[in-house]
Symmetry: C2
Subunit: 166 residues, 2 copies
DNA sequence: TTATATGCAAACGCTTTGCATCACG
DNA sequence: CGTGATGCAAAGCGTTTGCATATAA
């Protein structure tokens, strides 16, 4: 997948960098772009490989440093897959939310906190804890993958559903 | 903390092992005991060190293998701390639940799924996902640590007690 | 010119594995 | 005896760091 420079998403990320006083270097722009052109979760290794494939040879360290940066700016968020592996997803910086991850293709969607906040408060009260943070992670199959697996089982086909993460 | 052999918890774990057809070897008994005498989360390294301190010198591998075993028996569960580190907690094998973890002392408590299930269903429906699993992790300060930090701030003492989650 | 950012490779920490040995059934 | 469990050390992975270099402000 060729990164499409200058999406709104990419710009948002770059602006976030500059607003925070960091340089929007070519490498960081590329990372921003790779990240923005992903609709699922991705790992540092994914970015590294995609980056190399595209054009530039970025060092591992640069990726990790960029990812740390973006994480601290809350442009991306780190999440833990059921396997225990670490992945990242892009997300809206400000509003508190959670992630719904498709275990088929890796696509991820932001989920508003909604009523969960109240439930969390209630749990804290019940246990006498002062809750500082909470994290809800949902894993399931997205509509596309569900459809794919249904038609697959109908036809006996057993090929993969879609692009996989990123 | 000296492991107190033969707690109910320890027995439960050992029975779970035997019921599943695994040998309750001395090493595994020790692990069971260490695990049972922990009321918070712990890492593999913790167990290794406590084990060594107590008596036996267990190889790293043995700890990891035992932990894998207990995880597969759902006697312990692996969880991801906000720092990204992996830890384990003991828990009831059968009922679906979540964890409330004290970021001060590491104590952890099981939290019933309760109304969350309905909320999760609702989210899945809204996004067209078939939810397969969900995980809620709560981080906060337990009553003991809250009290401790209050008396501390009252006396102007500023000693550390925790590393603070994300 | 001074602070930042980058690359590289070595260092790290955690976890797994291969293999010979040992214990249990 | 044969299978399962263990220890050890080496290998593997993902991530971080030190340091010299290159680049931006």
């Amino acid at each position: 997948m060729r990164p499409s420079i200058n999406t709104i998403q990419t710009k948002r990320i770059i602006e976030a960098l500059e607003r925070a006083g960091y340089q929007a270097t070519p490498n960081r722009r590329l990372v921003a772009d790779l990240v923005a052109s992903t609709n699922g979760h991705f790992t540092a290794a994914d970015l590294l490989e995609r980056g190399r494939r595209e054009q530039v040879k970025m060092g591992r360290a640069t990726i990790f440093r960029a990812l740390d940066l973006l994480t601290s700016l809350r442009v991306v968020e780190r999440l833990d897959l059921p396997s225990g592996a670490h992945a990242y997803v892009v997300c809206e910086p400000d509003k508190h939310h959670h992630h719904l991850v498709c275990s088929g293709c890796g696509r991820s969607e932001d989920v508003a906190d909604g009523e969960l906040g109240a439930l969390v408060d209630e749990i804290g009260r019940r246990h006498g804890y002062e809750i500082q943070s909470h994290r809800l992670e949902l894993f399931g199959t997205c509509p596309v993958c569900t459809a794919a697996s249904e038609s697959r089982s109908a036809t006996g086909d057993a090929s993969a559903e879609q692009g996989g993460p990123a």
